[in-house]
Subunit: 385 residues, 2 copies
C-alpha cells in the first residue's frame, strides 16, 4: 500500500479571535498549509474538514463546502467529519485513508471551530452535544462533571492526588509559554491550580481547557509525490476506536476502551511499542484526562499516571515528554481543530522547527478524544518510514 | 481494486415520528439492515453516519458514536459525515471507499435525521445552515428562496413552465402512493400544486419536500465476502463534487457544477453513459431541482428538463424513470437519511422487491445534493459488475 506523508502545516493563533469568523480562521490555516508545503493548490484532490458544531456555534453546517469554496478548491470532494472533540483527527484519518487506498495523491485535512461568538451558557450546552444529550445532558450533567466523576474514581482507586492533576496543568502552561500560537502564555503554579474556582469537584478552572477560536490544517501526499519535499513527516499508524456515548454504560470510569483499541492498532501498524514513542500530544481537555491517556497509551501501568506526572516523566527532558507545545490546556481547545493542531505540533518537532525544540525526536504520537471517550483516534508520525 | 456490493438495506417509515427519538430511528434502520443482510453484526468493521444537524434538531452531536453504541458495534471506528442534505450519500461514499481501498471488508453506512422535535421556525433556521449562514441566511434568504431564484432563471432562460414543475410533484406522489415507508401516500393534481400556498415565487408548498423524521441504513461488503450473498447489488461508480456555498457566486443559476463533475466521474468509473441508466433517484428537494438534475445528469439537453418531464419520460414506463418510489417529495426528506434511502430504493428495484416494481432494471443512479448545490454525490449501482 501507498505510504502517506505530511508535507505542509498551517495554524492560526488560538484564542479569542473576535475579528475572525469561522470562514476567516479556516482560510488562514488552509492558506498557511498550502504555502508551507509549496504545492500548487490545484494538486489538492480532496478536502476533509473537522468541525464539531458549526451549526451550534455559528449557524453554519456544511462547513467543508464553506472551506472548499473559500480556499478556491471547488469542484473537489469536500467532506466534513464529526466526532465531537476528535473531529480534527477523524478528518486527518479520512484524508490519510483516501491516500493510503490509492484514491488520491494529495489531500488536505483542516480543523476549525469558532466558539466564542455565542452568548451565555450556549457554549456549554452546545459542547454537551458531545455526550449523550438525552441520558446525560438533559439531566444537567456538564462535561466538567463527566470528567470530575472519572477523577473522583481515579483518586479513590489509585490514590491519585489533587496535586498530581495540578502538575499536568503546570507542565502544559510551562510548555505553552514559548508557543506564540497558544492561548495562554504564562506559568501557573500548583498552588494557583488548587486555589482556582471549583467547577465540578475535584476539577477546578485551571484543570480545564478553555473555550477557543482557531483552525489548523495539513497537506498530505502519497510517497509518489513525497520525494519532491524536503522534510516529509510520515504517518506510521492511524487508528480509531469507539465506546459507549454515556459514561454510565462503561465497565470502567478510569480507562478508555476507545483509546486502548486505537492505540493497540496504531502501534501494530507503526510496528512500535509505547516505550519507543519519543513525544506524545494527548487530549488534556481536563487534567485527569492526560493522566488517563498516559495510562491507556501504555506509557505507564494503569493507576500510575499521577505518579508518572509527579516524577516529572512528562516534562521536556523527561522519560516521555507529553504536550510539549502546551496541549489543550495552554494552546486552547477549538474542538474541531485540536486533532489537526496536534499533528502540526508533532510535525514541527520532528522537522526541528518547534516552539519548544527537542533534539533527536524521530517520532510522535497524537491522541485525540471525542466527548468523554466515545471516540478516540491515535495517529503516529515519524521522520522515516 | 476490490469491488463493493450492497448486501443489506433497512429503512424506517419516513414521516412525523413523534414516538421515536434520533436514537430509536437509527437503531431501527440499522437493525433492519443487519437483519436483511443476515450477517453477524460482529463482521461490521466500521460505521459511517450521515446526519446534517443532530445538534440543531436534538442537541446531539457525536451522532456516529451514538449509533455505534446503540447498535452494539463498539469499539469499531464510527465517523459522522456531513454535507448538509447530501450527508447520507457522503457516509455511503466513505463506507464504499473504506472497502474499495482494502481497509475493510464489511462496513455500515447509516443516515438519520429527526427534524420534527423543534419549535416554530427553528427547523427552517437550522436548515439554512446548509447554505451560506453569513452571506445568505443572515440576510433572510430561505432554502425555498434559493431554489425559487433558480426556478425563476430557468423559466426565463428556457421557457420552463409552472405546469412542468408541478408535474414533477405529481409524478413523485403517484410513485410514492404504493410505498408504505413514504410520508405522503396519495395522488395530487397539477391544479392542486398550482393552487397550493405560495412559499417563494414561483415555488408553492406542493413543490417542496417536507420536514421528516427517518433513518435508512445499508451494509456494504467487499467482493471477497459478496459471494455468500444471494443478490448483491454492486457499486459501479461513486463520485462527489463541490461548488460555491453561496448561490450568488455561481457562474450559472440553472446548472450545478458539483453534480456535473460528480456525474462525469461516476459515469467514467461505471463505464456507462446516461442513455444506459435504467432508473434514477434524484434530489427533488424542490420540483425545480429534479428538472435541473435531469439536465445535469445528461438525461436531456440543458434547458429541456421541463419538456422532458412534460413528455412523460420520467414516469415508470417512460424513457428514463425518475424517483420511482416517490423521491424526496413523497417519501419525505429527513436530510441526513435521504442519500441512503435512495440507495435502498435502487437496491430494492434491482433485487426485484421494490414497492413499485419495474422489470428488467439492471442499474440505477442516485444523485444526492447538499444545500443549494455546494455538494453533490452521484452513485451508480448495478446487478452485475
Amino acid at each position: 500500500m501507498t505510504n502517506v506523508a505530511v508535507v505542509g502545516i498551517g495554524q492560526t493563533k488560538f484564542g479569542e479571535q473576535w475579528r475572525s469568523s469561522l470562514r476567516d480562521l479556516a482560510v488562514d490555516a488552509g492558506c498557511q498549509a498550502i504555502s508551507d508545503s509549496r504545492i500548487d493548490p490545484k494538486m489538492i484532490e480532496a478536502l476533509f474538514v473537522g468541525n464539531m458544531a458549526g451549526g451550534g456555534f455559528s449557524g453554519q453546517e456544511h462547513v467543508a463546502a464553506l472551506v472548499a469554496d473559500n480556499l478556491g478548491l471547488n469542484p473537489i470532494p469536500a467532506t466534513r467529519c464529526e466526532g465531537a472533540c476528535a473531529s480534527g483527527a477523524l478528518s486527518f484519518r479520512q484524508a490519510y485513508m483516501a491516500i493510503k487506498s490509492g484514491h488520491h495523491d494529495c489531500v488536505m485535512a483542516l480543523g476549525v471551530e469558532k466558539m466564542n461568538d455565542v452568548k451565555g451558557d450556549l457554549a456549554l450546552t452546545t459542547l454537551m452535544g458531545a455526550g449523550d444529550a438525552e441520558w446525560e445532558g438533559l439531566h444537567g450533567l456538564t462535561f466538567t462533571g463527566l470528567y470530575a466523576l472519572m477523577a473522583q474514581r481515579h483518586m479513590k482507586d489509585f490514590g491519585t492526588t489533587r496535586e498530581q492533576m495540578a502538575m499536568v496543568s503546570v507542565n502544559n502552561h510551562k510548555n505553552g509559554k514559548n508557543n506564540p500560537l497558544a492561548q495562554f502564555r504564562y506559568d501557573i503554579t500548583i498552588e494557583q491550580v488548587l486555589k482556582s474556582t471549583l467547577i465540578a469537584d475535584p476539577l477546578r478552572v485551571l484543570d480545564c481547557s478553555p473555550i477557543t477560536d482557531g483552525s489548523a490544517a495539513v497537506v498530505l501526499v502519497s510517497d509518489k509525490l513525497a520525494k519532491q519535499f524536503e522534510l516529509p513527516v510520515w504517518v506510521l499508524g492511524s487508528a480509531q476506536g469507539s465506546d459507549t456515548l454515556a459514561l454510565h454504560d462503561r465497565k470502567s470510569l478510569t480507562e478508555m476502551w476507545a483509546t486502548k483499541e486505537a492505540a493497540k492498532r496504531a502501534y501494530e501498524q507503526a510496528k512500535i511499542v509505547p516505550e519507543k514513542i519519543d513525544i506524545a500530544e494527548v487530549h488534556d481537555c481536563f487534567s485527569i484526562n492526560e493522566i488517563i491517556a498516559i495510562e491507556d497509551l501504555g506509557f505507564c501501568k494503569k493507576g500510575d499516571g499521577g505518579r508518572f506526572v509527579e516524577q516529572g516523566k512528562i516534562t521536556i527532558g523527561g522519560e516521555r515528554p507529553v504536550n510539549t507545545q502546551g496541549g489543550l490546556k495552554a494552546c486552547g481547545h477549538p474542538v474541531g481543530a485540536t486533532g489537526i493542531r496536534q499533528i502540526c505540533d508533532i510535525t514541527r518537532v520532528i522537522r526541528g522547527s518547534a516552539f519548544n525544540n527537542i533534539k533527536g525526536v524521530k517520532n510522535g504520537l497524537a491522541l485525540n478524544v471525542g466527548g468523554s471517550g466515545a471516540t478516540a483516534t491515535v495517529n503516529i508520525l515519524g521522520a522515516d518510514i
